[in-house]
């Protein structure tokens, strides 16, 4: 399912008291890919993703989710199918867990969308297993779990509704390096199983490691929307203008280029960077005992 944003403006408030947030946005969120949305705090990222499942409706222009068109005039009752197709995982989603057991918490969404007890239980179990959650803990209170486990339960809660597209706002925030790596792998697995993933992230390393496409927001407008390699091939000065950091690997590569080293492609990992650098170093300059 493709999501198209066409000539979208959005302002909070009504009448004379409006605060424009998004201006003339034209974007395509491609099916089966991971699209990262990046930009400084206040650039409009969160407001933009809320258009994707009609939590917010455009002030002007339209959002086309699959077959369905959302404009400022679309009635609330027509939005339910869109909410079912596009699932939202907000920041620190574990703060919204509430049920007495893990299983009941995950079943809540499907039940709310009209599933029977049996269907909801099956959907919940499938979702919990997809996020790698230990079956032995299904009857536990979600509040007795570790932070990483709680986050998985919250993700499963959205996944259980089987949305075609899932939107994540800083999904790995606050987790330790091992927890972050597991979560990022989970997003890749979801994409590889056919889901469309939209990811808001401040962590450029994550964007580099995960994203197929990247949308850069600045002052409520799209500053760039392109493949991840194209984006990170832009000069360092461009990222400074957007107040964005570069991933460490890319920043290092650009520094080395400035020092006269050459690379035949953008290195996405330290290992790749090292492999491209190795042939350009003369280790005999170190003297005998420094190198292997």
């Amino acid at each position: 399912m493709v999501i198209n944003i066409e000539g979208l403006d959005f302002a909070y408030g009504a009448g004379k008291q409006t605060v424009p947030v998004l201006k003339d946005i034209n974007l395509t969120i491609e099916s089966g890919k991971i699209t990262a949305i990046i930009g400084q705090t206040g650039s409009g990222k969160s407001t933009l993703v809320q258009q994707l499942n009609a939590l917010l409706k455009p002030t002007a222009g339209q959002v086309v989710v699959g077959e369905q068109v959302v404009t400022s005039q679309t009635k609330e009752k027509d939005l339910a199918p869109i909410r079912a197709k596009v699932g939202m995982v907000f920041q620190f989603p574990e703060s919204q867990l509430f049920a007495p057991t893990v299983l009941e918490d995950v079943m809540y969404g499907p039940l709310n969308f009209g599933a029977s007890q049996k269907e909801a239980k099956e959907a919940a179990e499938k979702a919990l297993s997809a996020v790698g959650f230990d079956q032995k803990l299904y009857e536990q209170s979600p509040f007795n779990l570790s932070g990483g486990q709680m986050r998985r339960v919250a993700l499963a809660g959205v996944l259980a509704m089987n949305p075609e597209t899932m939107v994540f706002d800083e999904p790995a925030a606050g987790l330790d390096p091992a927890g972050q790596a597991e979560l990022l792998q989970l997003l890749k697995d979801l994409r590889d199983s056919g889901k469309t993933i939209v990811l808001i992230s401040h962590q450029m390393e994550q964007v580099l490691a995960l994203a197929d496409q990247v949308v850069v927001m600045k002052d409520g407008q799209v500053a760039a929307a392109e493949a991840v390699d194209t984006l990170f091939s832009r000069p360092k000065a461009w990222f400074e203008e957007q107040h964005l950091d570069l991933p460490e690997t890319i920043a290092f590569q650009k520094e080395m280029e400035a020092a006269g080293f050459t690379f035949d492609h953008l290195a996405k990992t330290g290992a790749d960077l090292a492999a491209q650098l190795k042939g350009q170093l003369d280790l005999s300059k170190l003297g005998g005992d420094h190198h292997e």
Binding site: A173, G174, L175, F252, M256, A274, K278, K285, E292
Partner: protein, 273 residues
């Protein structure tokens, strides 16, 4: 130099999950900046709660300057040690930023005439004085954490513990908080002891010394420069190595010295074939 915090032969078990610290000892010198690192569940935050007397331990002794932590010294210990927590949204009670800082002072029964000056001084130290009348919920995450820090600073603690205080912030907010910490340390020097609990190695690099904790055990206790050379061991512990050090390992070049990214770029440039 005196010890600000001395933990000796501490034994503590989680109420349900069981043993964590067993005969654990660690001390922090007055004026030192210590980072405590470890993966989630390693026990690092529990240690902070034990120091503040928020949890009871079974055996051992915790000393804060010359006070041995006990029910009788709890109030004195808490006025010596301030703590900033992880979640910027869970630390506010006041209707405005200034009220929030005032809350801690009221709890200490500071005369109300002395309060405005203390509040202003504390907010100035974190660069938030212009926001004194703002409602806390209108602030960004980084600003909230700086106000939380001001609330702690207003009480003039000798020790500040930051428990993953930047983990929930965006890069800009994080840099603002870290920059602020550097300034505070430069201003107070040996009068302020900082304990930073984190799993972020960029933060750990700011400290004088890093204690690495895993399952309640002290695995390393050394300067960041030497710790960062131990790439494989750090990865085994669920931690990362600063980028430049990891890259140097991948290049297969041995160099006993720690290098920052800039230093490594400059050094590699001299080796260009």
């Amino acid at each position: 130099m005196t010890d600000a915090i001395t933990i000796k032969n501490l034994t503590y078990s989680y109420p349900e999950q069981g043993g964590l610290f067993q005969d654990f000892s660690l001390s922090v010198k007055e004026g030192e900046w210590l980072a405590i690192v470890g993966h989630n569940g390693s026990g690092k935050s529990t240690l902070a709660k034990l120091i503040l007397g928020l949890l009871d331990f079974e055996e051992g002794r915790i000393k804060v300057f010359d006070q041995v932590l006990s029910e009788q010294t709890l109030a004195a210990v808490r006025s010596t040690v301030g703590m900033v927590f992880q979640n910027p949204d869970n630390q506010f009670v006041g209707a405005t930023v200034a009220d929030d800082v005032a809350f801690g002072l009221e709890n200490r029964q500071i005369p109300s005439l002395e309060m405005p000056a203390k509040i202003e001084k504390a907010l100035k130290q974190v660069g938030m004085n212009a926001y004194a009348d703002r409602e806390p919920h209108t602030l960004s995450g980084g600003q909230k954490q700086r106000v939380a820090m001001a609330s702690v600073l207003a009480l003039e603690p000798k020790v500040i513990i930051l428990d993953e205080a930047t983990a929930m912030l965006d890069p800009e907010g994080k840099q603002a908080v870290l920059q602020n910490l550097k300034e505070l340390k430069a201003r107070y020097q040996d009068e302020l002891t900082l304990i930073m609990i984190t799993h972020d190695m960029e933060e750990a690099a700011m400290a004088d010394r890093v204690a690495v904790i895993d399952d309640g055990k002290l695995i390393f206790d050394e300067k960041p420069e030497t710790l960062f050379l131990k790439g494989e061991r750090l990865r085994e512990l669920g931690l990362t190595q600063p980028f430049a050090m990891a890259l140097r390992e991948q290049l297969g070049i041995q160099n006993p010295a720690y290098q920052t990214t800039q230093e490594l770029v400059a050094w590699l440039s001299t080796l260009k074939a």
